[in-house]
Symmetry: C4
Subunit: 206 residues, 4 copies
């Protein structure tokens, strides 16, 4: 029951944060001479919107898959989950900053770094939640196989390293960093769509 | 269970997007000399609000009817649904643009085209979700009649063509295009209110 | 099931609209010399926020009580409910207008009229939903007594007349109109708190 | 059933208010010369965001624990809960004010006082809800021990005094006041994480 309410609350925050992304798009000024052109020139804002939408969407699916494998939550999970949601709910802010920086071609390093730091924080929280739940089978459902615990913890750990690397790339090439975020989102989607049963969700469905 | 959570999440995004529409209305400036007149002159913004509210509301009812006919979801549905929600959550943005363009009588082609492109994308996603679920009865409930599969897929396909046509009209007469959106919303409402059992929802209720 | 989802969707819109009210408060400019005084001078905005919060909250309780007495919904209810939600979700806009008009002591007639027109529309929709559900016991639960149908329909009808009167008062004395809204909210709260079993909710609880 | 819907509605308001906090962060102006520095200089805004996120998150957990111990709600609870939510949904506003006042080092007393007054109001409502439910076991679940009623009411009462004291400190040292809020949040988290079974939630879980 408590777990169900935690998931419902988290789902709410995911749904609200993903829908608030649209507010990161600035409305054109009232006296815009060529509205069509202005709207077209804003394409980086739309790209940032779409990438962040997929990023939050995938995080939501991932969150779902994670909690499906837990038989209960405890206070540590509640606290880590609150920190995770804090970063998810923050994402619309750097999304707007990235969109505007791309459009003005100015301040991209700072924008990409802020965006990446947020996703890195999310990756750490996911890893922490899973480690706390899986280590010693503290909160795992009975059907989760022992042999999967180590690899799954490692996979989450690799995720935190990858996002740290993407954060580092922001200071060298912010464009490469942003492409990295799009690639990671695409990778998770493809993994979801084609994965041969190794993903968390598959194991749960099995 | 997974289907229930997907629907709950989608419901959340629909409810939030429909409620965020109000933020597309600009507040009058502080030093407005005649507030009554200013508020009256903003009538296109209210019309855009009302039409978009009905549009999203009908899409929500449609979404509901669609998922009632599926016995389960899979990852393709999850992904297509995420793209569908991406467009729904985007609608408050072009709604605000259309309201302002109507009010200033400036930039209407661009505004109407952006609005129509968004709804066209939504129509494509609805069609894609239904095709994926219905073709070969991949994810259909058992009670859905075989004879209805072909016609229902065709009906969704026609929807995508109609919205593409409305998008095209934006470049000829943006006003006609916007009236087209209002007519489509009214059509779906009337269809819902008077339809002789041919709509998706009827079949489910039966 | 369909009724449950309609209620859940409506609850979502109520919850979001009530929480968006806070966005109707303008943030003080960056260079405000005396922030304390500026925040104090904004008291009409806080009053508008609090009154609207109670208004939407009471509408939510009322909505709840209404649907508890229905055994099912149909398409007409779905459509009327969508129009009802359209007005509820609109309320943050006139709330902000009223708060600012009160603060600047300028444009109060227009602001109060817009606010009152919105609540009048809500009252009409409530009345329409109840009439459609109750007349001829179309959608009523079996436990609802026949003798209550006429009086309850009349009570909702009186509500629409009262809100129309409050709208009319806006053009004579906008302050009296706004006090009328506060009084109506207080009346419904007291009725909820002390009512001798005549309210909708009592009958359901009985 | 009515209690479940009240909790679902409250959860919605908590989830939306916590996610709207991000809108309290002002986006940098378009012509910012050094975006990285501007984003770094906004650190008080991020701190205010994080503290308020934890504050609302803890209030949500507390709300949850409270209602778990009630077997039903009545109209007084509904009304007090509405006032509680009114203050929760208001929090994004003073959060933004505090963040900006910290950043500009100007108006801190007013900002801290407004923030503290809001949390004090929340504490009073929590105390009132619990007193109404617990006094004379009016609405308590049967498993709640008699011996716990007095201490639990007193604990909530102490909470209101502490938040009043923090409000008073705002007028002497606003920084100390804000640290007080962070300490209170940390205290509740630690209490949640390490408490020896004396907290409300423990008793319920037992």
């Amino acid at each position: 029951m408590s777990k169900a309410r935690l998931e419902a609350f988290s789902d709410g925050v995911f749904a609200i944060a993903i829908t608030l992304l649209v507010l990161s798009l600035a409305e054109p000024a009232r006296d815009t001479p060529d509205l069509g052109r202005t709207l077209r020139d804003q394409w980086p804002g739309y790209v940032a919107y779409a990438v962040s939408f997929l990023v939050i969407g995938i995080m939501w699916i991932n969150h779902h898959a994670l909690f499906l494998r837990m038989r209960a939550t405890d206070r540590t999970i509640q606290f880590l989950n609150l920190l995770l949601l804090m970063a998810i709910a923050f994402l619309p802010y750097p999304t707007g900053i990235v969109g505007k920086a791309l459009q003005e071609d100015h301040g991209l390093v700072a924008a990409a770094a802020m965006y990446s730091a947020t996703t890195w924080f999310v990756a750490i929280m996911f890893s922490g939640i899973w480690f706390w739940a899986a280590y010693g089978r503290r909160l795992l459902v009975a059907s989760f196989p022992d042999a999967e615990i180590g690899p799954s913890i490692r996979r989450f750990g690799i995720g935190t390293v990858v996002y740290l690397a993407i954060l580092g790339i922001a200071f060298i090439s912010p464009i490469a960093c942003l492409i990295g975020h799009a690639v990671m989102a695409a990778y998770y989607i493809l993994d979801q769509l084609t994965g041969p049963g190794e993903t968390v969700e598959d194991a749960v469905a099995a």
